[in-house]
């Protein structure tokens, strides 16, 4: 894979520098068979430094993960070597099954088959809280 150009796939750009590996792990990109490139600390005129993830396959990315980890990132959809769509990310209102509650007294630790849901309670500080026990989502 030539990391500069992909034919069909997506490029997640403008990721806050240092955040790419978190996105990689929360999106479970290790499960993909296709080529995946992570570029750390690329220079950016806008951000100084940024991370980039390129996935060389048609991949339906969970935008909530990006919004949670790095809300200023952008998603470029590439078809036949041409960018056909650019998606801007928003801070998601809810995180569903993205992170787990760390509170040992929370019902999510014992109840099987329950969705782990966090609600955005403070958009300014980007604070999410567990809907079951109100515990803050784990620090990034």
């Amino acid at each position: 894979m030539n990391i500069d150009s992909i034919h069909n796939g997506i490029v997640i750009d403008h990721i806050d520098a240092g955040r790419a590996m978190q996105i990689y792990s929360l999106l479970h990109l290790e499960r993909l068979d296709c080529p995946v490139a992570i570029i750390k600390n690329a220079s950016s005129s806008k951000m100084g430094r940024k991370d980039i993830i390129k996935i060389d396959a048609d991949y339906n990315v969970n935008l909530d993960v990006l919004g949670y980890i790095s809300p200023n990132s952008t998603v470029n959809i590439i078809k036949n070597g041409v960018r056909v769509e650019k998606k801007h990310i928003q801070l998601p209102e809810r995180l569903v099954d993205i992170v787990l509650c760390k509170n040992p007294r929370c019902i999510t630790t014992t109840e099987q088959e329950i969705h782990h849901i966090f609600k955005l309670t403070d958009p300014e500080k980007r604070i999410y809280r567990c809907i079951y026990c109100d515990t803050k989502a784990p620090e990034l």
């Binding site: 929370c106 019902i107 999510t108 809907i131 079951y132």
Partner: protein, 305 residues
């Protein structure tokens, strides 16, 4: 209102309606004796809390309904590993309304997502206990006549006492309220509660370690237990606990119409010599708990009829 899980799910208007209904029940109990005839309340108590369970059961019985349930996880299907969701899905077929107490935070919310009948949170660990807060509010309304223009002292364990946090949250929605936060340094109100319900709302408050110094200012005094296990060592506990014990001597400094409350059970934070003081409202408070639960059961069954 389909369920009651968190006191903040209720608007001020909905709380007013519940209190109005509870007052109407207090004034004319005979009018409500058959309101829930042929209806069943299931009390699913995954951990024991005799006081709360009896209050719910008395409430349903006084409305002419009947009750069923269990009062500890050992005697229930939970001990066999059945989930909360499955338990309430089954019980929804037997009862018209559920009151659930559970040691895990959020269990009643999970229950409400899987029950086809209304679910009332009767306490989920140290998290929420909305019917206690409704009880506290009805007591304040009955004893003071209004919620606004009140100076409320909260005394004892303000750090872990969830009923205190909920009461502050609920009272902070009324006009011209002020708080005295009276606790040992170790058991101060957590800053997130202070920020969300006091500072952000620009409510005047004073933080102090001395009940004696401020008792004369108070319209309502809400006492809580200071538990030995909250302290690192016995000396600190012994040294501090007396500051937060209400005695007849301290009561001489208080206003004539002070209303002293306590969620009960008490250990020794209110001397029994205070019980005969007409300003001691904590046993009345327990009785009001039954009436507000009657109002709540009625509203929830009505809304889902």
């Amino acid at each position: 209102m389909k369920h009651l899980i968190d006191i903040l799910d209720l608007s001020v208007g909905e709380i007013d309606e519940l209190i109005e209904l509870a007052e109407s029940i207090i004034a004319h109990p005979e009018n409500y004796r058959e309101s829930c005839k042929y209806k069943k309340l299931a009390t699913l108590f995954f951990e024991p809390s005799t006081r709360t369970r009896l209050s719910f059961e008395a409430a349903m019985l006084e409305l002419g309904g009947s009750v069923l349930g269990f009062s500890e996880a050992q005697s229930s299907s939970a001990s066999k590993g059945e989930s909360v969701s499955d338990t309430v899905a089954v019980v929804s077929g037997y009862a018209d309304i559920i009151a659930m107490r559970h040691p895990k935070e959020g269990a009643p919310l999970v229950a409400s997502m899987h029950a086809s009948v209304p679910v009332i949170n009767a306490g989920d660990g140290g998290h929420n206990h909305p019917t206690q807060t409704l009880t506290d509010l009805l007591t304040i309304k009955r004893e003071k006549g209004h919620f606004d223009h009140l100076t409320i002292g909260l005394c004892g364990d303000l750090k872990f006492g969830r009923t205190v946090h909920s009461l502050i949250a609920a009272m902070s929605r009324y006009a011209d309220v002020r708080f005295y936060l009276i606790s040992p340094e170790e058991l101060k109100l957590p800053s997130y509660v202070k920020t969300a319900y006091i500072k952000d709302k620009k409510i005047p408050y004073i933080q102090t370690t001395s009940l004696e110094s401020c008792i004369s200012e108070l319209d309502v005094l809400y006492m809580t237990r200071v538990q030995r296990e909250r302290f690192f060592n016995e000396e600190d506990y012994i040294r501090l606990k007396d500051y937060f014990i209400l005695t007849p001597e301290k009561m001489t400094l208080a206003k004539e119409d002070l209303c002293v409350m306590h969620p009960l059970p008490r250990v020794n934070e209110i001397s029994t010599a205070v019980d005969s003081d007409p300003r001691a409202c904590y046993f009345k408070q327990a009785r009001y708990g039954k009436f507000i639960r009657m109002a709540l059961i009625l509203k929830l069954l009505e809304a889902n009829a």
